[in-house]
Amino acid sequence: MLSVIKQKFFSWVDNRAPRQTMTLLQQRNIYILPTRYGWLMLMILVLILIASTNYQNNMGFMAGFVLLAVGLLSVFYTFRNLKGLEVRCLKAAPVFATENASINVQLTNNTQSQRLAIGVGLSKKSVGYVDVMSQSKSAAIIYLPTSKRGLVDIPRIACSTIFPFGIFEAWSWVRTPYQVLVYPKPIPCPEPLTASNSGIDEGQTREKGSEDFHSLRDYQAGDPIKQVMWKAYARERGLYSKEFEDYVGEHQTLSWDSVAHYEKELAISYLTDAVLTAENSQQVYGLELPQQTVAKGQGPEHLHTCLKALALM
């Protein structure tokens, strides 16, 4: 029952907070309610008024009404603390599943009043606080726990404040169009991957290989013509062949087939781990997935391409 109401409520909230890169906090998207201490204060206020009526104590009435007036004013002060702030979520860097994605939220205050103790978090109950001085920006980082690989929508972000008196809490839910890319969780494979290595593609090997000059040796029949050191031959120093490092077994194509017999998610994790290992030991690697093939390569961008392919598989 309660969860149904909660669901209805949040779908209503989401309708009012469209996903946009910048959200301006204003009347229509700021909510305000007393905190638990606000309710406590109300109780104390009622107690004071009853006691003052009974003892016909006008001093007590004064105290009660000062309290009431402070409560009334704190509605405006708390509300004002949020109003007019611009909230932007920056694009979040990809993370591996079960790691926390850090979402950078930027608060911009274009007004001339300072905004203190603005809480930013995934829910009102777990927020981190930042101050936003007048005409300045502050950033808050939210850590979003991830569990599954893939593209994850950034959930609604709560911006809340109980400043200055803690009697009322004003808050707003902000939604951003950005998503977090979550890579699969890397798990080392218990048995070595039967890598479909061994320069299947001759041309590619050579092309790659020719970049890594290693040493010279005497020409032997059958050496590729490209590897002959023609400059030395021209100077009549003899026929030499340029020798290249032996890549066989060190440049590999990681194939889905090698892990296909495992459960799908586990298989993906194993491949992820293999990709990371390859990258870390500065190998050249490619990836062969049922729907997609990533050509051999190396470097952070190549790694990202591979991991993204795995994440979205």
């Binding site: 890169t21 910048m22 301006l24 201490y37 406590l40 204060m41 104390i44 206020l45 107690l47 004071i48 008024l49 009853i50 006691a51 003052s52 009526t53 009974n54 003892y55 016909q56 104590n57 006008n58 001093m59 007590g60 009435f61 004064m62 105290a63 009660g64 009404f65 000062v66 309290l67 009431l68 007036a69 402070v70 009334l72 004013l73 704190s74 405006f76 002060y77 509300f79 004002r80 603390n81 109003k83 007019g84 274009n110 007004t111 001339q112 009043s113 203190l116 103790a117 809480g119 777990s126 981190g128 606080y129 101050d131 007048s134 109980i162 400043f163 200055p164 008196f165 803690g166 009697i167």
Partner: protein, 654 residues
């Protein structure tokens, strides 16, 4: 970082809380039992030491100490239920809570409970100082709340603390309006236990001769506002009690009953006045002679005194009229004659015989009465507040031997002599005279104005007031009493010109009167604001019926008005944009008017491009402004007033 989860050990919150508790408890320390006061002070100091040394108290030790304290309070008051016991207990728990406070929750609880503690102090005093205390206490509690709720804690108080001061200033007008409209009740919601403190002032017995020194207190008994004519001070006899039973030593109040039917006496109204009486913890109230119709909440008794059903434990305000009552057509009943002639037969026989002898030398009761007064005037009778103590036959001793005393001696002896001579008489006690306060246009009657005089029944005249003390020759009034007494006591004023008493009008006296005028306003108009006063001003507005409803309307209107006014001012502050943004937003609005689908979420470069692709004409006009904006925002161009002005002009041209 999460404020709610932060321990309060950060940024000097704990010392601030200690200071706030001390501030809040300050007035209570004067009223609650001294061991409780001392313990709360010790706990606060203890908390400070623990805070500095980083010690946290053991829970079970704390629990034992708390239980011991509850036991102590119970032993002190024999109950935990009464008001005083409750307040003592609350004060202790309040400080214990701070001792073990470690979380945001604890600190919040302490601060909000503080508001209630402030109110408990008002049960003891509603003096004008307490108004100041209220302001300072609320300010410090608000400051504590702000510090607790801001991440910088106490460090930022300088700039942040301003908000609590401003809030309090804004709260005051709202408070005043709510105070004005909130419906008051004329009766308590539940009965409260009465206090058992002894009241100062007039007692219901009088034993002249037993008192060696009369201490006069300058405490205020009541204040009086006259409407219209004011009687001369020598005529201001504030009647309180009639003492008619005498056992040879002490005068007692008679058994009397309220007059339920209309007084069938010819009388004329003389003065109208309003009394604001300080609590005296007694049933009787005072009125200007002659008393008739009792004010609301009081009864007229057969001896022409007023009584309330309840004791006056709080300031009591009432309006009344003085009358001239014509008793000439009345006779004393046999029962009354017997009562007002009653004397114990076994004491003071010298005086009785002397009185009977002297009476036979005079024609009438009236002549005899006048002769006694002149006897006092001409013989060595003197006025002193420190008379000799008389062991037995107090009246004989006073009349023939010591011949010194104050009003009680004279009134007692005079009534005794009258009764001995067969003239019905009784002692009346109350206050005589008043001090005029020109700054508030009212009169102050103090405890030191307490007085005793007599009433004598003269055939064909009725009760006649006679003040034998006034017959003392002024030269025999104790030195030092003169100047003091002359300012207030009308009975001496008559002689004032003879002996050249000074009328004090020094600076100090003026200041004191001004101060009293302020206090009077405070206690009468502010603290005395009641249901009667509410209904009175409503009646003046022409609202006779549904008065509660109109008070409710007033309350509602106050809250709405406060919401509108402060909502406007407070929120306007939040909307005040810095100038560059303000002009840029205006520019965007203008572009939208030219049907360029831009909005605030787009970057200025995108807007520039969009404009170029949409309308060349608009672009040529808007481009300079947009480019200036980009320069100011993204190219670190320093924004000075010159540039700002140019930007403004460029926007205006679009």
């Amino acid at each position: 970082m999460n404020v709610k989860e932060l321990p309060i050990s950060r940024q000097g919150i704990v010392p601030l809380l200690i200071a706030i508790e001390a501030m809040v408890l300050l007035p209570l320390w004067f009223y609650i039992p001294s061991w409780i006061s001392a313990l709360t002070v010790a706990l606060l100091l203890g908390k400070y030491v623990m805070y500095r040394k980083g010690i946290t108290p053991l829970r079970w030790v704390l629990l034992i100490v708390v239980l011991l304290c509850v036991g102590g309070v119970f032993l002190q008051f024999k109950t935990l239920n009464g008001r005083d016991a409750g307040i003592g207990l609350i004060a202790l728990m309040y400080t214990f809570k701070l001792l073990e406070a470690r979380s945001y929750r604890d600190a919040s609880l302490i601060l909000f409970i503080s508001f209630f503690i402030v109110v408990t102090a008002f049960f003891y005093s509603e003096a004008i100082w307490m108004g100041l205390y209220l302001l300072v206490a609320v300010l410090s509690i608000l400051l504590g709340l702000v510090a607790l709720n801001s991440p910088q804690g106490v460090q930022g108080l300088g700039s942040v603390g301003k908000i609590s001061g401003v809030t309090l200033l804004q709260a005051i007008p709202i408070m005043v309006l709510l105070f004005f409209f909130f419906p008051r009740s004329s009766t308590p919601l539940w009965s409260m236990p009465t206090d058992t403190q002894a009241g100062s002032g007039i007692d219901d017995t009088m034993s002249p001769g037993s008192i060696g020194a009369l201490h006069t207190f300058d405490d205020i008994a009541f204040r009086v506002d006259f409407e219209g004519e004011v009687p001369p001070r020598s005529e201001m006899y504030w009647r309180g009690l009639v003492l008619s039973e005498f056992d040879g030593f002490t005068w007692f109040k008679e058994e009397h009953s309220p007059i339920r039917q209309e007084l069938e006496l010819p009388m004329t109204s003389t003065y109208q006045y309003r009394v604001q009486m300080e609590p005296n913890n007694r049933n009787w109230i005072f009125g200007l002679e002659d008393l008739a119709e009792a004010p609301d909440g009081a009864y007229l008794f057969s001896d022409f005194t007023w009584n309330r059903r309840r004791q006056t434990t709080k300031r009591f305000i009432y309006s009344a009229q003085a009358y001239d009552i014509d008793f000439s057509q009345r006779q004393l009943t046999d029962l009354q004659s017997e009562r007002y002639l009653q004397l114990p037969s076994n004491s003071n026989s010298d005086t009785r015989e002397w009185a009977q002898e002297q009476r036979s030398n005079h024609q009438s009761d009236e002549a005899f009465t006048r002769w006694i007064l002149s006897y006092i005037h001409q013989n060595q009778y003197s006025y002193t507040l420190t008379p000799a103590v008389i062991e037995v036959d107090t009246i004989d001793g006073f009349w023939f031997d010591t011949q010194e005393g104050f009003c009680e001696h004279y009134a007692g002896a005079f009534v005794y002599i009258m009764r001995s001579a067969g003239i019905p008489a009784r002692v009346v006690t109350g206050y005589q005279g008043a001090e005029y306060n020109p700054y508030g246009d009212y009169y102050i009657v103090r405890q030191s104005d307490a007085h005793a005089w007599t009433e004598v029944w003269l055939e064909g005249v009725g009760w006649r007031r006679i003040d034998p003390t006034a017959a003392i020759h002024p030269s025999r009034v104790e030195e030092g009493l003169r100047s003091d007494a002359s300012s207030r006591d009308g009975w001496l004023e008559e002689f004032g010109s003879d002996v050249g008493f000074d009328t004090p009008n020094g600076l100090f006296q003026n200041l004191a009167l001004r101060w009293d005028a302020i206090q009077n306003f405070w206690s009468e108009t502010v603290m005395g604001y009641s249901q009667d006063m509410q209904f009175n001003w409503l009646r003046k507005l022409g609202i006779e019926r549904h008065q509660y409803r109109y008070l409710g309307y007033g309350l509602l209107a106050t809250i709405l008005l406060a919401g509108l006014v402060f909502g406007y001012f407070v929120l306007r502050g939040a909307q005040k944009l810095e100038p560059v943004t303000k002009h840029y937003l205006r520019l965007l609005k203008k572009l939208q008017k030219h049907e360029i689908p831009c909005d605030r979420t787009m970057g200025p470069r995108d807007v520039l491009q969009l404009t170029r692709h949409t309308s060349q004409k608009v672009y040529s006009r808007a481009a300079p402004a947009l480019k200036t904006y980009i320069a100011m925002r993204y190219q670190e161009q320093a924004v000075d007033s010159e540039l700002l002005k140019r930007f403004k002009q460029q926007v205006a041209k679009v």
